[in-house]
């Protein structure tokens, strides 16, 4: 890749670092498009930047780090599908519009149902994946039902589409594309989770250093130091796995699924303990702790839940013999 991971990370952290947590949705969306993040993984021949999964990983970890709202993950699934579809003027037009920031969305759930669709009320198109056909369907005329989630950093909808839209793949190609999109979704959720886990761990450590009780900073208590040391260890190992699988072009769907289950478990555990370590303040709506816990628990069930992917990892191990 032309930019190193650290350079890209630095640029992204700068872009989203100043606005604080949960930056304004519309401003964030413009920023994401302006920075060229939506075209990151698209080949240069299609007008993209041609960067690999590692670069995509940087974006998702940074979006998770700042709890950025919006449908970036869904948009990138649409773009991935458009990029993989057969050449046609219609495809080229849609791809260019999606890369430019015209909101198009997709389901973040694991099944074939069209639920967990971020920002469906603002998007122009929806990616629909059936067993033998992948299509991009206009949302005009669709029935869109808002689902109020505990995690307010995401706006999810159930969608009932009408019309066939533009076919992106059929038959075997649709199956292959479906797997590719699913893999991409799981990878993105893993990145989002590890970015969030890193942020809340850092905030927790800072809080322990600042908050004084019994005439000393909480950070002096070994019982608390050891807990955050464990968190740091599990997070570091999960991050190492994330970057190694980002670079592994042979990584299977099950391997990325296991990675996602692991990353969301680490996120959830850290966010869960963060509230305990913050004490009373962590239970208030004004404080940021709960935002991480809610996003963590949502990430854990999107794209297939932890139980499912852990079971698949177990089956893989038994099959490998």
């Amino acid at each position: 890749m032309t930019m190193t991971r650290a350079e890209l990370q630095g640029a992204a952290r700068q872009a989203f670092g100043e606005g604080g947590l949960t930056p304004h949705a519309e401003k964030s969306w413009s920023l994401i498009a302006e920075m060229g993040w939506l075209m990151m993984a698209v080949p240069e021949t299609q007008g993209g930047l041609g960067l690999g999964r590692e670069a995509v990983g940087v974006i998702h970890t940074e979006l998770g780090h700042a709890l950025v709202p919006g449908p970036a993950i869904a948009q990138m699934l649409v773009i991935e599908a458009l990029s993989a579809a057969e050449d046609s003027p219609e495809r080229d037009d849609l791809l260019a519009r999606a890369m430019g920031g015209e909101m198009m969305t997709a389901s973040l759930s694991s099944g074939r149902k069209v639920d967990c669709v971020p920002d469906a009320d603002r998007a122009s198109h929806l990616l629909v994946m059936a067993a033998d056909r992948v299509a991009l369907v206009p949302l005009a005329g669709a029935t869109i039902t808002p689902r109020d989630t505990w995690d307010k950093t995401r706006r999810l909808f159930d969608v009932d589409v009408t019309g066939d839209g533009v076919t992106l793949a059929t038959g075997d190609a649709a199956v292959a594309l479906g797997r590719r999109i699913e893999t991409q979704l799981l990878f993105a959720l893993a990145g989002d989770s590890l970015g969030g886990a890193d942020a809340i761990l850092e905030l927790t450590v800072d809080y322990l250093k600042t908050r004084r009780q019994f005439d000393r900073p909480l950070a002096l208590f070994q019982a608390l130091k050891h807990r955050v040391a464990d968190m740091k260890t599990w997070l570091s190992a999960a991050e190492a796995l994330f970057w190694s699988r980002a670079l592994d072009t042979d990584a299977t769907l099950d391997e990325i699924g296991a990675l996602k289950a692991h990353a969301t478990s680490v996120y959830r555990a850290i966010a869960e303990d963060a509230i305990q370590l913050h004490g009373g303040i962590g239970l208030t709506m004004e404080h940021h702790c709960h935002l991480f816990l809610k996003r963590a628990t949502l990430n854990a069930v999107l794209g297939g839940d932890t139980d499912y992917w852990e079971e698949q990892a177990g089956r893989q191990l038994l099959q490998a013999g």
């Binding site: 070994q222 130091k225 040391a229 740091k232 570091s236 289950a261 139980d307 990892a313």
Partner: protein, 396 residues
Amino acid sequence: MTDALETFRQEVRTWLDGAVPRDWRETCATHAGFLAVQRSWFATLAAGGYAVPHWPAPWPGGGRSLAEQKVIYEELARADTPRLLLSFMSTYHAASTLFEWGSAEQQAHYIPRILEGEIWCQGFSEPNAGSDLANVRTRAERRGDVYVVNGQKLWSTMGQFADQCLLLVRTSNEGAKQAGLTYLLLDLKTKGVTARPIHQIHGDEEFAELFLDDVEVPVANRLGNEGQGWAVAQSTLSSERGLTLLELGARMRGALWRIADLIRANGRDGDVGLLRDVGRLATRVDATCALADQFLANRIAGEERVGDASLVKLSYSRTLREFTALGLRIGGLDAQYHQPIIFGGGMETGNWMADFMNSYAWTIAGGSDEVQRNIISERLLGMPREPKSWVTEARS
């Protein structure tokens, strides 16, 4: 994986096919057999060029890329070879410390002997210097060209079989405890050295106590200057916390089949809850291996931070405990019936109760988990250090 690496893997695999001693587990039922297997297997590996792939390039058998090292360790695990326990301290701890602190003469003297099979142990811990290693009291007094050493050392891995010892001693009581330490290389055949094995809870005797009674060590056998012992010891410990875990991680991953076999043997391959547990474990093992890889890559690039090695060690030690605990759980009552251990069989032998008890070796030895957590929170997360003395703290 690249073609070159795949070719290398085939080369290692083919070589191992012809080289692995088939009946080593039976032979290792006795200590004498264990020693014979360890010595001959090390000699075979050294001759084949696979004993010390982690050494730097000029040394024979060294200079392997990180990717090649991983291939070698994975293949060694896959071929179910004896883990090099007897020469573990020699090829990692002693060699790494000598590469970093040894003079050209010291390196030229000791390094080739390691490849010829000379065995090293570590003399750091003492009855009152465990986690608080700086509390070392074994005394070395300089008399002309020699130090005269008196004291007791504990938990010397393979100390009863070793030829040489990495010895941490006190040469001064002035100033900070750390500042009075010096690092010596002790020939264990020297007069006044007594080694006694320690009987461990799972039946093995991998460690020894060393009693040092007016033992003379030439001043020429000192690593670093007098008073620099703490810094030299840190480089020994850091090699253990980081470097060795690439191999141990690869071996743990290579041993996951034991759990898969156990599940099938007990007819529990339809037990979804168990499949999840083993799936979670396998991913944790993968994450630990990825962390060890990243640690080594950073170390090679000169980007290692103080405390990084502790992350790898803690991740490995906790994951190994989970690994052996899961084996013990699935093993059920069968695992409770005593089976004799295989000396040097590795961390994952499938003798689950023994493996489970043996896994404490990594949560206690080489800096306990609690010490690693202190290092991680203080050095990596910037949290305040423990108060120096609880007596002062209590009075203030």
